[in-house]
Structure formats: structure tokens, C-alpha cells
């Protein structure tokens, strides 16, 4: 049985904060295929098209028939635990800081034997399920848990290094004045977040969502306007050292493109909120979060950007909004690289159109806010990094892989 996660202790301001270290991140080009799968929560390995053999570790030539067509295919993550160890010694600093550490060898039903991070509630001979997770270095590793996880299994300390579980962590939701902001506050509360900080801009404008969010147990409201550098800086001074999960859900979609609707003010606002807003948040909250990436089992772990799927391909019906989302996405990739030395993971959620006033003229499917919030929290719990939300977003990502030109010409969603 997994030991229950002890509640976080009040931080001792005199003690030195443990500095972030990362597990070894040197991987071959082939092994980066595992990272691509882990980023979206797939369990896939290379399978030889010629002979069907499952390959592990990844390679460029089939270990059985020497064929070189080895596409990544989803497969059964089941297996049996053959051997286990608990490391009491490690040369690598990341693991030295976290000893003891459990590892195992699992014989997969699909064939290969794999070295895995092993959950506390796994025992030799047991049936286990594997998952591919991103570790703190941002690279994929194999993780094994019992087929039927026992009590407190999400509290496993090794698992918490691979996921960004909100349980007992403090969350900042940037925009509390939308339905999604409210749904996120409720979702994080249900997921066991320790404190939920909710930002709001334009205090003179009433918001039913904000009023409802304020009523959620554990929620504290803070003024935050991402278009105002002073506002961001002031809140970072107050909250910077406490935010363990940042959720940038800034949201300002407006219909229209460049030729059909030239509106510089509107377009500038979109950029100011989506792109410069992220830039300001990154500049003021990023350094502290990065420094707290190894601050115990409840340390800073994740930065979520709630983006539109149109960040990946422009939808002319929301042309300037799409462009501001593309800019934000590009900056998010920069942020991912800059936060990686602290082991802080950047999660980019790409949602399809929300079922709200700004998408009145858009045909369904449209997404309810609580569904989007649920998918974001699930991604944090499972350790995913690129999260398409809804059928539209999933289709866009698939079509971009298959034929980017086709979707550029045909986008009507």
C-alpha cells in the first residue's frame, strides 16, 4: 500500500531551498520518439511492419528481421514484474536527493523486458500497467503501477515527480471572470489543491463567474490584469513564492480577420492579453517558480497555458485571435525551455471553441467549460504536456500531422 502523502509543512524561511536538479536527459534521436508519445499521454512503441516485433529500447533497425520501417504504434501496456530493487545509493544528484528510489524490470505482454520506475505498491510477480511519462528533465521514462492501484496510489512520491498532481499544491488561476476560470477553481478544489488563488481584472465590471468562484472553499481573489505590467509585478511580489501550478487562462477571442475586419485596437488587445500577458506573467512569476522546482513533494511543478487549437493553424473566422494564440504558443515553447532547468513543466492545452457568447455563430461541437477544466486537471494528474481538448482540437492535431496544407485550405471548424 502506498504511504499517504504527508500534508505540506509551513516553509521555514531560514532553511535553504533545495536547488533543482534534473535526471539525466541525454537521449538518442530514436528515444525522443518515446517523449513524443509521453507528451500526449500515449503508450506506444516501435513495431516492425515487416515482422511485427515490438522494439525496446528504441532503435532504427528491427532487432529481429533487420527491417527499417518501425512506426510507433499504441499497444497493451500490461506486463509482469520480474525483478525489483530499491536504490539506496546513486551517483546522479537528482536521485541522490530523492533516495531511496524503486526500480523494476517488467516483462511486457507485448514482448520486451523494460526497466521501469516502480510504484511503492508493486510487488514481485504482480501484474502491472506501464505508462510513458515525462520526467523532470522533460524526457520519457517507463513507469509501472499495479493493474489495480491500491489506496493512496496517487500519493506515491516517485509518481509525483512524474506528474503535476494538484493535490496539496497551490494554484494560481489567472482569469476568474470566465466560466472556465470558475470551472478550473471548482476542479482544482475537487482535485485536492491546497490553496486556489484567482485573479481578476477590471474590478468595476461585475462577474457572476467570479462571484461563484469566490464562494469555493479555499479560493482567494487577487486583482490581476495581465495587460498591466505593474499589476503582474505586484501580484508576483505577493504570491510568487507560493504558486506551484500556474494556469494562464487569459481569454479574449473576437471574431474577424484582417481584410474583412480591420480593427487595430481589437487586434492589439488580443495580443496584449494573450501574448504580452503571457510574457509579463513569465517574466515575473517564472524565476521564482523555476527556483522552487525541487522544493519537496509539494514544490512548484507546472505552468499551464490554455490556448486555442487555432494557435496551430489559423481559423480565418477568428483570424487575429488565432494569430495572437500562435504568438502565445511560440512564447510558451520558449517558456518550456526556460523553465526546464527547474524541472517545471509547461502544459499547453489546445481547446476547440468553447460554448460561449463569442462562439454563438460557430456550429457544434462546442465545449462546456467544466469539460475543459476537467481535461486540464487530468493532464496535470497524468503528466501530459500537449493536450488537445475536444474533437475539434484533436482533429486539427491529427490533420496537421497528416497534411498541413489540406487543413490550411479547408479549415471550417
Amino acid at each position: 500500500m502506498t504511504t499517504a502523502l504527508p500534508p505540506p509543512k509551513k516553509k521555514d524561511p531560514v532553511r535553504r531551498t533545495r536547488q533543482p536538479t534534473l535526471p539525466p536527459g541525454n537521449r538518442s534521436r530514436e528515444a525522443q520518439g518515446l517523449t513524443a508519445m509521453a507528451a500526449v499521454g500515449r503508450f506506444a512503441l516501435q513495431i516492425c511492419t515487416a515482422c511485427g516485433q515490438t522494439q525496446y529500447p528504441p532503435r532504427q533497425v528491427c532487432g529481429n528481421c533487420l527491417g527499417d520501417d518501425l512506426p510507433w504504434r499504441d499497444l497493451d501496456p500490461g506486463g509482469t514484474l520480474l525483478a525489483e530493487t530499491r536504490l539506496h545509493h546513486a551517483n546522479d544528484l537528482f536521485f541522490r536527493d530523492r533516495l531511496p528510489w524503486r526500480l523494476g524490470v517488467v516483462r511486457m505482454d507485448a514482448g520486451p523486458s523494460v526497466v521501469v520506475h516502480l510504484a511503492e505498491d508493486c510487488q514481485q510477480g504482480m501484474r502491472v500497467r506501464l505508462s510513458l511519462n515525462l520526467d523532470r528533465s522533460g524526457h520519457a521514462v517507463m513507469n509501472a503501477r499495479p493493474e489495480t492501484p491500491g489506496p493512496n496510489s496517487e500519493d506515491d512520491l516517485q509518481l509525483r515527480e512524474l506528474t503535476m498532481d494538484p493535490k496539496d499544491r497551490r494554484v494560481l488561476i489567472v482569469n476568474g471572470k470566465t466560466e472556465l476560470g470558475l470551472a478550473l477553481a471548482q476542479g482544482f478544489k475537487a482535485a485536492g489543491a491546497r490553496e486556489i488563488f484567482v485573479g481578476y481584472a477590471e474590478p468595476w465590471k461585475a462577474s457572476a463567474a467570479l462571484d461563484a468562484a469566490k464562494a469555493v472553499d479555499g479560493v482567494t481573489l487577487f486583482p490581476l490584469d495581465v495587460t498591466d505590467t505593474d499589476s503582474v509585478q505586484e501580484l508576483a511580489a505577493v504570491l510568487g513564492g507560493k504558486v506551484e501550478i500556474m494556469v494562464n487562462n487569459s481569454y479574449h477571442p473576437r471574431p474577424g480577420g484582417a481584410v474583412d475586419r480591420l480593427d487595430m485596437n481589437l487586434s492589439r488587445e488580443e495580443m496584449d492579453i494573450h501574448y504580452f500577458g503571457l510574457l509579463r506573467l513569465a517574466g515575473y512569476f517564472g524565476p521564482t517558480m523555476r527556483a522552487r522546482g525541487a522544493d519537496g513533494a509539494h514544490g512548484a511543478c507546472a505552468w499551464v497555458n490554455v490556448l486555442s487549437a487555432y494557435a496551430q493553424v489559423n481559423n480565418p473566422a477568428f483570424g487575429t485571435y488565432s494569430a495572437s494564440q500562435a504568438a502565445a504558443w511560440s512564447l510558451a515553447q520558449c517558456l518550456r525551455a526556460e523553465l526546464s532547468p527547474g524541472g517545471i513543466r509547461v502544459v499547453n492545452a489546445f481547446m476547440g471553441p468553447l460554448d460561449d457568447e463569442w462562439h454563438q455563430m460557430v456550429p457544434p461541437p462546442k465545449l462546456p467549460s467544466d469539460m475543459v477544466a476537467g481535461r486540464i486537471i487530468e493532464a496535470l494528474q497524468k503528466g501530459r504536456e500537449d493536450v488537445p481538448i475536444g474533437a475539434v482540437a484533436e482533429e486539427i492535431m491529427q490533420r496537421l500531422v497528416e497534411n498541413p496544407k489540406e487543413i490550411e485550405r479547408e479549415i471550417t471548424l
Partner: protein
């Protein structure tokens, strides 16, 4: 027809006329400021001095080293100022000893080289070991090292855990082997471990990677082992005591379908191994096995025919593994007590076997041995050791 003649008839040539001689050890140290080039160079100097020959008379070199990088055997020729006509670099770590031996022997038999110096040496700077394991192989980088296993400890912890559950081995069984080797090492001047090992010391040692504790693990160190291979005629003319080679084997990536390693490549080749030698396991007077962790010794005892698979725990309980016992095993103390000088660990047993069979022991001598078996193992590329090799050496009466 003897087994040996039969093997020859089947197309496998013996090693008649080949001499293995001049056992050299460059004393071990936990850490060293010297380079691997120094250890290899001093080993060559000792070979020449003991053999009474000049550098020019050595026309073949066989080198094994991890810490020579970025150099290989090639760079070493310029460092040492030699111009060999036969050069080999064997990147097989712990398996390199018997592999070097068999390649050098064939070179001498064919006349491609007359005198081959087989040298295995490594240095150990304060951070050498971590660096070696951090870039050991692509599979290790991708699928083991990121999991926190500081080198082979975790890999052997898996094999030991599985072996213990599968075959009922107990920690006390591994302890008996480690303690016997320590007893042997107390007589061997180059051993880094100088104190007797008691059962309680072994059982109560700090855990490293369950079920492995401190005395299951070798200590990385610096040092070198070396020997010469030449014709027996040449050895006689130089008045050098030498041993003969009765048989050798090597195998790589054996049994890839075993879900976890329970045996090494020896098991694939053991029949032909003894056939070529013309003797069986009963006629082996001592064994020098690769011993970075005790479980692999147990596998070698099984795979080389001293008992069946899974029977080594009982075999070890029934036998005395000290030099004066009924199954002398790692008579200089092995790596577990002498230290693991990188790739030299793959030649430690071979050099000790030459000494045992030429009455030139530095430590305790086996009583009148006629045949010694040397077994080597190395290279945990991913989840198992890939390289295995072995040789049977025989006493040659003057």
C-alpha cells in the same frame, strides 16, 4: 579418439604451440592522478623487463581500457613509441581477458605476430566512474541511466533479486563466496581489501540497491593487468615459464529471448569448450571467474558445468572456495576483494591463473594445479551482460 582430437576433426583448431606467460600487475589504487596511458605504458615496461626483451620485439598489441578515451589502442602506439604489425582494441570490459588471449593466440599461430602484449588497464579519477557510466551505451543512456541506477548496481540488483526468488539462493550463500574470496585476498599483496570479512559484516553492511549491500559490489579503482602471448619455442628460448591454452570460447548477446538474465553465453558453448580442451569440469583444479557481483559467479559455476542451473547455491554450500579448499575460486581474491580496475577486471583472473600454473603466485597457491579455468563477463549494455568468454589454461612441465 579423444575429445580434443574430435573437436579438431570437426574444424576447430587447437592452440598447440602457443605460450601464455609473463603475468604482470600494476598495483591497484582507489584513485589515481595517472592516466590510463600511464597504466598501460607501465604495464608494457613491466612485461619487457620481466621477459628480458626490448620494445621492438613486441610486434602485436591487444588493448582494453575504458578511460583511454578519446584514444584507442591506435593513439597508444604513438604514446608508447611502438610500431606493431598487429593491433587490436577490445571494447568488452570484463570479457576482454579471454577474448584478448584467444585473438593473440591465433595471431601467433598464424605468424601474423610473434610476440603479443595483452594489456588491460584503467585509471580512476574522482569522477571517472560516473563519467564512464553516463555515456556507456545508447540503450543504457536511453533506457537505464535516466532511471537513477548508478552504473551496474541496479542491473545486478535485478538479476540477484530474480535469481534469489527463482532458485532459492540466500544472502548467506553469496556471503560464503565473498568471505572465501576475502580469505584468499588476505594473502594477495595487491588486494585493496586488507581486512577479513565476517558473516555479520557482510549481512549488516549498508544497503546499496536491494538486495545488494556494500560487500556485494566491487570497488572501482585504478590499475592494470598484462601478459604476453608467443610461441612456446620462443618462450623456451627466453627461458620464460609459460602455460598452454587448452580451449577458449566467446559469445555475445546470448539468449536474447530470456526475459531476464539467468545465464550467460558460456551455457551456449560449454560442450564444445570442454571437447576442445579434452578434459571435463572434474579436471579443473581452480576457477577464476568474473565477480563484479556474486550472482554472476553463481551463474558461471552453473553455466560452465560444475553443477546444473539453479544448483549453485547448494554447490557453494557444499564446497570450500578458498585456495586450500576443494573448489579453489578466485584465488587472488577476485575483484570483490582486490578492486575493479576498469577493464583490467577482465584480466585479473587470467593473470592470476598464469601465476598459479607457473608457480609464481603472489598470494596463496593452489596445491599442484594442472588446469585452471578463467571466465570473463562484461558490458551491461541495457538489462543484461552481453559478452562472455572463457579459457582453460594448462600447466606445462619444463
Amino acid at each position: 579418439m579423444t575429445g580434443r582430437q574430435e573437436a579438431t576433426r570437426l574444424g576447430r583448431m587447437g592452440y598447440e604451440g602457443v605460450a601464455v606467460c609473463v603475468p604482470v600487475t600494476i598495483p591497484y589504487s582507489r584513485y589515481s592522478l595517472r592516466s590510463a596511458h600511464w597504466f598501460c605504458g607501465r604495464a608494457l615496461a613491466a612485461l619487457l623487463q620481466q621477459a628480458g626483451i626490448t620494445k621492438d620485439e613486441v610486434d602485436g598489441f591487444c588493448i582494453s581500457s575504458f578511460t583511454l578515451a578519446p584514444d584507442t589502442a591506435v593513439g597508444l602506439t604513438q604514446h608508447l613509441g611502438v610500431s606493431p604489425r598487429w593491433l587490436d582494441h577490445i571494447p568488452m570490459g570484463g570479457a576482454s581477458g579471454a577474448v584478448a588471449l584467444r585473438r593473440a593466440a591465433r595471431a601467433v599461430q598464424s605468424g601474423d605476430a610473434e610476440v603479443v602484449a595483452c594489456i588491460a588497464g584503467d585509471t580512476n579519477h574522482v569522477d571517472s566512474f560516473r563519467k564512464t557510466i553516463a555515456s556507456f551505451s545508447q540503450f543504457a543512456n536511453d533506457a537505464v541511466y535516466p532511471y537513477g541506477s548508478g552504473g551496474p548496481n541496479a542491473s545486478f540488483a535485478f538479476l540477484t533479486d530474480h535469481y534469489m526468488r527463482q532458485y532459492g539462493a540466500r544472502r548467506e550463500d553469496f556471503a560464503k563466496l565473498c568471505i572465501a574470496q576475502r580469505d584468499n585476498a588476505l594473502h594477495y599483496p595487491h588486494a585493496l581489501m586488507k581486512r577479513p570479512l565476517r558473516l555479520d559484516d557482510y549481512l549488516d553492511a549498508r544497503p546499496i540497491a536491494d538486495p545488494l549491500c556494500l560487500f556485494d559490489c566491487v570497488m572501482p579503482c585504478a590499475g592494470a593487468e598484462a601478459f604476453l602471448v608467443m610461441t612456446q619455442d620462443r618462450a623456451r628460448s627466453l627461458d620464460l615459464p609459460f602455460v598452454s591454452i587448452l580451449s577458449t570460447i566467446e559469445r555475445h548477446n546470448a539468449y536474447p529471448d530470456d526475459p531476464i538474465q539467468i545465464r550467460g553465453g558460456w551455457a551456449m558453448d560449454v560442450d564444445g569448450f570442454y571437447d576442445l580442451a579434452g578434459i571435463g569440469p572434474d579436471e579443473i583444479d581452480f576457477v577464476e571467474a568474473y565477480d563484479d557481483y556474486p550472482v554472476i559467479c553463481f551463474m558461471q559455476i552453473e553455466d560452465l558445468g560444475f553443477c546444473g542451473k539453479g544448483e549453485a547455491p547448494d554447490f557453494v554450500r557444499q564446497h570450500d572456495l578458498t585456495t586450500t579448499g576443494d573448489f579453489p575460486f578466485n584465488t587472488s581474491g577476485g575483484q570483490l576483494s582486490v578492486g575493479q580496475a576498469g577493464a583490467a577486471g577482465g584480466s585479473l583472473g587470467l593473470v592470476e591463473a598464469i601465476r598459479q600454473l607457473t608457480d609464481s603466485c603472489l598470494g596463496a597457491a593452489v596445491t599442484d594445479p594442472r588446469h585452471g579455468l578463467v571466465s570473463c563477463f562484461g558490458m551491461i549494455n541495457y538489462d543484461r551482460g552481453l559478452c562472455s568468454s572463457a579459457a582453460i589454461l594448462g600447466r606445462v612441465e619444463k
